[in-house]
Amino acid sequence: MTSAMNTPHITVTNLTMAYGDFLIQRDLNFTIDHGDIFIIMGGSGCGKSTLLRHLIGLQRPAQGDVFYDQQDFWHASDEERVRIIRRIGVLYQSGALFSSLTLAENIALPLGEFTHMNGREIGDIVSYKLALVGLAGFEDYYPSEISGGMQKRAGLARAMALDPEILFFDEPSAGLDPVSARLLDDLIVSLRDTLGTTIVVVTHELASIFAIGTNSVFLDPDTKTMLATGSPKKLLAESSDAKIIQFLTRGESNANKSA
């Protein structure tokens, strides 16, 4: 809200990701600005989710750095890193709700740990966040009692609990019907517009990519590095890379060319 748009929020420099000897991606360089809806895209198995894990502190880079604003994330002390992490929210692919807690308890958990609100105030915030994702009245349900799509939305409510500066989404529309996926896209855009939240989305849903993306990075599994960064629409219009064009047109441009 207060931070100026178009200034770097997350900067990734020379990032190399690997599991032991197995290289996933190397030499990644890109910047996510304040207020961006940043798409991490690429074919299956190219390391999109792994990149996300590096950005949110679950996996240490083999090489290179991640900066939040100007702060070096991976070379910060543990306490510093936890402080940065508290400014972000993550929606996991499966929702990752705590199965032993009700939806209300799930959302109340970060509020109870990191704020000084009393039980009643926390309860109000919980109801508000659930209403925001269309789950008003489901406070006392356990995650196993609701559908996958609802779990995902409840996961989003939990990710938003502390009004994070940056929200990460891992495959938000996977497993959702088209209408729900569209509603989620709308919610993402309005979060950015109203709260100024920076959004990072891992996805390969073309409809979402073009509907909401303002910036992106394209990862290639064959060359194991990024091929481009920039607005998806601009990439489609201007890129000369066959792989990017093929991806962004569902491979239909090839058919057009040969026809």
């Binding site: 679950l58 993550v90 709700l97």
Partner: protein, 381 residues
């Protein structure tokens, strides 16, 4: 059409010219049909010299399903390696389309796994490396646990107080029935084993000494530990493992909450608090079991048994038993929580974690028990 009436799939070769052969497929190529193994057909095919083209013909099939394309795919692959052309225009259209689809994406080079024959030396090396990795994991886990306990002492640990009570309920009162049963029976067995020998000398009264000391110093703590490792240690591993599979532990981390404090600490505390109490209860039950046998079968009165037990067992013996149970509790909780936290991300990994937790804790328990008993013997207590 019933199966009996249909003619099963037949393959015949009709040479067309020197480098061309037609492969005639007739009969039924569906599920129930008995068809000549494809290996034999490939052998027949390799008998033709200078083969350049195979014409597939199957105009009057009595019916086909996936067996036909699967069969032909093998022939295609063989022909490809032998540089023989295959003409499939004589096949049913559906089969042509399916075969085209199956061959659209060529097999990725290096994707197929081949069974590797490893030498014994390589297996030993791998086992040693795995052992080292395990040891490193254990040390790291102990270190993290200590840090969590330090945070607890500094009152900085983040966990829900209610979780501790839930864990205590689970690791304490809920285990009473099984502990009662097992301890009572073990006391009974101890009494019988001792009685047979002691009765020969008319020294039945010393059954009380045997059962009392055996239970209080050894069996009470040991049996409780074995029960709890199967009951609670495995449950810890499975709970934490499932949370790992479901990204719940990742979610905690990205919330800025340490899973060691939030998940491991309450479980460890609960078990460490409850085990000595369970052990004390098991001691009592064991002596009761011994008394039941001795009083009912060996002509010793309950008062005599009580007095003899009181003479034989002193507070030091209880202390040793309780100390053991404390150590066992820490070991069980460590093995269970560690296996759960290190669990892989699949359903079978959760099962493996639970198994490893029980196996590890029983090994740890027995080793620790031997060491403690040895030390006590040396110290003369």
């Amino acid at each position: 059409m019933s199966v009996a009436e249909t003619v099963s799939g037949q393959v015949s070769f009709i040479p067309v010219d020197g480098s061309t052969v037609a492969m005639q497929l007739t009969g039924s190529w569906s599920n129930e049909a008995s068809i000549k193994p494809v290996e034999q057909v490939l052998e027949d095919l390799s008998a033709f010299k200078n083969l350049k083209l195979v014409l597939l013909r199957a105009q009057d099939l009595a019916g086909w399903d996936s067996r036909l394309p699967a069969y032909l795919l093998k022939i295609f692959n063989y022909c490809q390696t032998q540089h023989i052309e295959v003409d499939m225009s004589g096949l049913p259209e559906g089969a042509q389309a399916l075969l085209k689809l199956a061959r659209a994406v060529p097999e990725r080079a290096g994707a197929r796994r081949t069974a590797q024959q490893k030498s014994t030396l390589a297996e030993i090396g791998k086992a040693v490396l795995n052992g080292l990795k395990d040891a490193k994991g254990l040390l790291a886990f102990i270190g993290e646990t200590l840090l969590a306990f330090i945070a607890l002492i500094q009152a900085k640990a983040r966990f829900r107080t209610i979780d501790i009570f839930l864990c205590i309920q689970d690791a304490g009162p809920a285990a009473l029935p099984i502990v009662t049963l097992i301890s009572l029976l073990v006391g009974l067995i101890l009494a019988f084993v001792g009685a047979v020998q002691l009765a020969m000398f008319g020294a039945q009264i010393y059954i009380a000494d045997l059962v009392g000391l055996g239970t209080v110093r050894e069996m009470g703590a040991l049996m409780t530990a074995v029960i709890m490792s199967g009951r609670t240690g495995a449950a810890y591993a499975a709970q934490l493992g499932t949370m790992n599979v479901n990204s719940e532990i990742d979610a905690l981390k990205t919330m800025g909450i340490s899973p060691m404090q939030f998940l491991v600490l309450p479980r460890m505390l609960a078990l460490i608090l409850m085990m000595p109490l369970l052990c004390l209860y098991a001691d009592l039950m064991g002596m009761l079991g011994g008394a039941m046998v001795t009083v009912s079968a060996f002509d010793v009165s309950l008062i005599q048994y009580y007095n003899e037990t009181q003479k034989a067992v002193d507070l030091t013996d209880f202390g040793i038993g309780l100390f053991k149970s404390l150590v066992f509790a820490a070991l069980i909780a460590t093995a269970g929580c560690m296996r759960g936290m290190q669990c892989g991300r699949s359903a079978s990994a959760v099962g493996d974690a639970a198994t490893a937790a029980v196996v590890n804790s029983i090994v740890y328990i027995v080793v620790a028990d031997s060491v403690i008993t040895l030390i006590c013997d040396r110290l003369g207590i």
